[in-house]
Each structure stands twice: as C-alpha cells, then as structure tokens.
Amino acid sequence: MRYESIGDAIGGTPLVRVDALLPEAARAKGIHLYAKVELLGPTGSIKDRTAKALIDDLLFKGLLAPGKELIEPTSGNTGAALAVHAAARGIPLTLVMPANVTEERRAFVRALGATIVDSPADQGSNGAVVLARAMAAADSKYVSPDQYSNQANPKVHEITTAPEILADLPEVDVVVAGLGTGGTATGLARYFAREKPSVKIWAAEPMPGEKVTGLRSLEDGFTPEVMETELLAGRVLVNSRDSIVGARALARATGILAGPSTGATLAVALRVARDAAANSNIVFIACDAGWKYFSAGLTEGNLDEMEDALEGDVFWW
C-alpha cells in the first residue's frame, strides 16, 4: 500500500477471530469472539486514530496557524501518537509529563521531535494537567487538543472504527471497549445506535481505587466530557489482576500481544459471552500493544509486582 503520509496509514485494522479464548460451552453454542486489533497502528495503539483526528480538527478550525504549537499533558499513548502526527505535519509539540515517567517513553517522543516539560513527580498525571493548562493560559502560542473534551475524539470512532467493524462483521451483536476518555465507546455507540441498533456496546472500567493503565473508573469521580454513558448497554468493573491475566491469556492463546487495558476489555467480553444467546458475535477492542509493558512485568512472573507497577501512576493513555 502506498501513502502520502504516515498519518494516512492508520485505521483499517484487522478483526481477528479468537474463539480459543471461549469456554467449550460457548463455542458449542456457536458464539464467536473477535479482537479488533488496534495495536497495529504506527504507535501501537488506538490513539493513532485519536491523535490524527484531534490535529485534523484543530487545523480545520484554523486553530493551528503558523506560529502555534501543540501542548498536551500525557505520558502515554496519546503523547506518542501526537508526536508521530505532529512530526509528520511539521507542527511543534510540547508534552507535559510527570518527572518519573520512564526513560523509554521519553526517548520515544523525543526521537520524534517533541519537547518534554516535567511536572512534579509526586503530583502524578493530575500535576501534568495543571501545568499544561497553566502554560497554555500564559502563552497564546500553545493550543491543546484536549482529548477529554474534544468531540473529534468520539467522532473518529463513529466514522472509522465502528464502520470498519460493521463492514468486516455485519452479523456483529456486541462490541466491548475500554473506558478511558470515553471516546471509543461513545463513538461506537453513536454509530451503532444509528446503523444497527441491536448491537450492544459494553464498556470495561477499572474497579474503584484500582488502576488499569489507559482506563479510568467513573466511580472515582472523573467523567470526561466526551463520554455518553447512557448510550452504553452497561459498564463492567474489572480488577487489575484480571486485566493482566487477560493480556497474558490473549498473548498465549492467540498470539496477539496487547496491554492490560485490552486484558480488561477481554475480561468483559468473556463475561458477556458467558451469558450470550446462541450464535452471538462479540467484538472487543485490542487497544494497545503489550511490548510497552515488558518492564512492568506484564507478560511473566509475579502479578503483585505488575499491579504495583500499575499503581505507579504512570499511564499509557
């Protein structure tokens, strides 16, 4: 395939049948399970779609005129994806992240030309948000894409991710996504409500007080503006241990190496499958790649150590 820009090479991700994860009883009922493998994008996450959409939106609105620069508080997938798409368009990018973010993540975005500003390590991701907003308020050259409130975030899933699923699997009955910004689940729900209302959208959400990188628990008191929970069939709480075990199971049983947020969506998909009608087709979003979590112990060894790493307040969203 030939493209004019790396930004054009996103989307169109494969939908892979992973029935090996289902219990025999579900397979006997003709239930099928599919992974929408978003981790195959340029930066290994579904945030490739989001970052491109956010930058496109700012350009369309004329907010990224020459002399303007992007600023975003993120140490994770959105930062990596913004770095790729900003580099591809020659737009300066500043990422604000806690000072304790690992060197491998810093090196990734620095290699793509992003400037890193450290926020206090002891204030975690909230400290990064506060500092980025203060910098944007103090200098008019900065423009923030703000994935939590920008409607371009759910929109890109409504116009790309969701139609891809329906085109590849017209008989789809259920789609499971993780709740992070709410962009994926909301975009999917808006599309299917219009095009195939029988499709149920379930969301995976961490247990209150537990952390699954990339996902947020609404019960912890933060509801992103782009999220429309009333469109969902329901939200299912997943603990961090099942998220890790889920990612390990996906890798070992299917060869798809994904991160713990994908493990969480898989854990919800299996719960849905357990109670599903015969011949149901269930899709879950494999939203980011597992190689980013090797140093945190995702793929082997002690579950407590990986849970501790997730508690470290350094996220890939």
């Binding site: 075990v245 199971a249 898989l266 719960r271 082997e300 002690n302 407590d304």
Partner: protein
C-alpha cells in the same frame, strides 16, 4: 505480605486432595495442574472451596503451564462469586513434591498456596496415596507449610 505473616499450617479438604491425586494419575506421564478456589487467598487465611482441573499446555513430564484462557475464565468466575484463587496445584511424576527452580521462577500468585502432588512411590503418604505438600512462593523463595488433609 511477608511469609512470616502467613498461616504456617493449612488444612485441605479430603475430597479436594483426592481429586488432585486422581487428576495427577490421569495425566501421567505428563505433569497435571489445576486451581483451588477459596473464600480468600490462602495467604489471608481463606478456606479452600473447590478444585478445578486445568490443562497443562506444555504437555510435559517436567514442566507445567496452566492454560491461560482457562485461568482467566476461572479468575473471572471467582471474582463474580466473591471468591479468590486460593491454591495452584501441579504434579511431579517422578520427583518429590518440592518446587523446582522453574516452579519458583514462574510463580505468579504470591498470595496463593502452591500445592505439589508427587507420584514418585518413595514420596507416598503413609496411606500409600501420592504425597501432597504445600508451599508459599514469595520472591522466588519457597517456604513449606504444614499441610493437613482433613480426615
């Protein structure tokens, strides 16, 4: 939780022990494996409730790995029932019921009790049944507990 804070004596229901032994014999000469679900992790003093045999995907006489998808489904079902993974079981077909270096390095559940069943005749219990021993495995160190099989 350090080993010092854990129970030093653990009781296993007779029917669970019997089922573990039956599974170990059935799988020989491959190592057998399975999960015991409990009211809380063994390290927290939970009670063992249920034995679930699992597939050893390595199908080896010297190594075991619990089928990851099966483990995930067991974990989800346990969560939904308010239960926990209490114990992780595997067999040794010809060696004592002592964790190998590989066993300690792959142990992923520090709050579960690791139970080993030995089919080696020299390791049999006084009643002639395959010997069963229980271990905490924390930071790759195995510490044996006194395992009582309920009469």
């Amino acid at each position: 939780m350090s080993v010092a804070d854990r129970p030093t004596r653990v009781t296993l229901p007779r029917e669970i022990a019997a089922a573990m032994r039956t599974h170990a014999r059935a799988e020989a000469p491959r190592e057998a494996c399975g999960i015991i679900v409990g009211s809380a992790p063994a390290a927290s003093g939970g009670a063992p409730l249920r034995w679930i045999p699992t597939t050893n995907v390595l199908a080896s006489s010297t190594l075991y790995e619990i089928d990851a998808a099966q483990l995930l489904r067991i974990s989800i079902d346990a969560d939904d029932a308010g239960e926990h993974i209490w114990g992780i079981v595997h067999s040794h077909v010809a060696s004592p019921a002592v964790p190998s270096v590989t066993d300690t390095s792959v142990a992923g559940y520090p709050d579960a009790l690791y139970l080993l069943v030995s089919l080696a005749p020299s390791q049999a219990a006084p009643d002639g049944e395959p010997g069963i021993r229980g271990w905490w495995i924390v930071e790759r160190e195995a510490t044996e507990v006194e395992l009582l099989i309920q009469a």
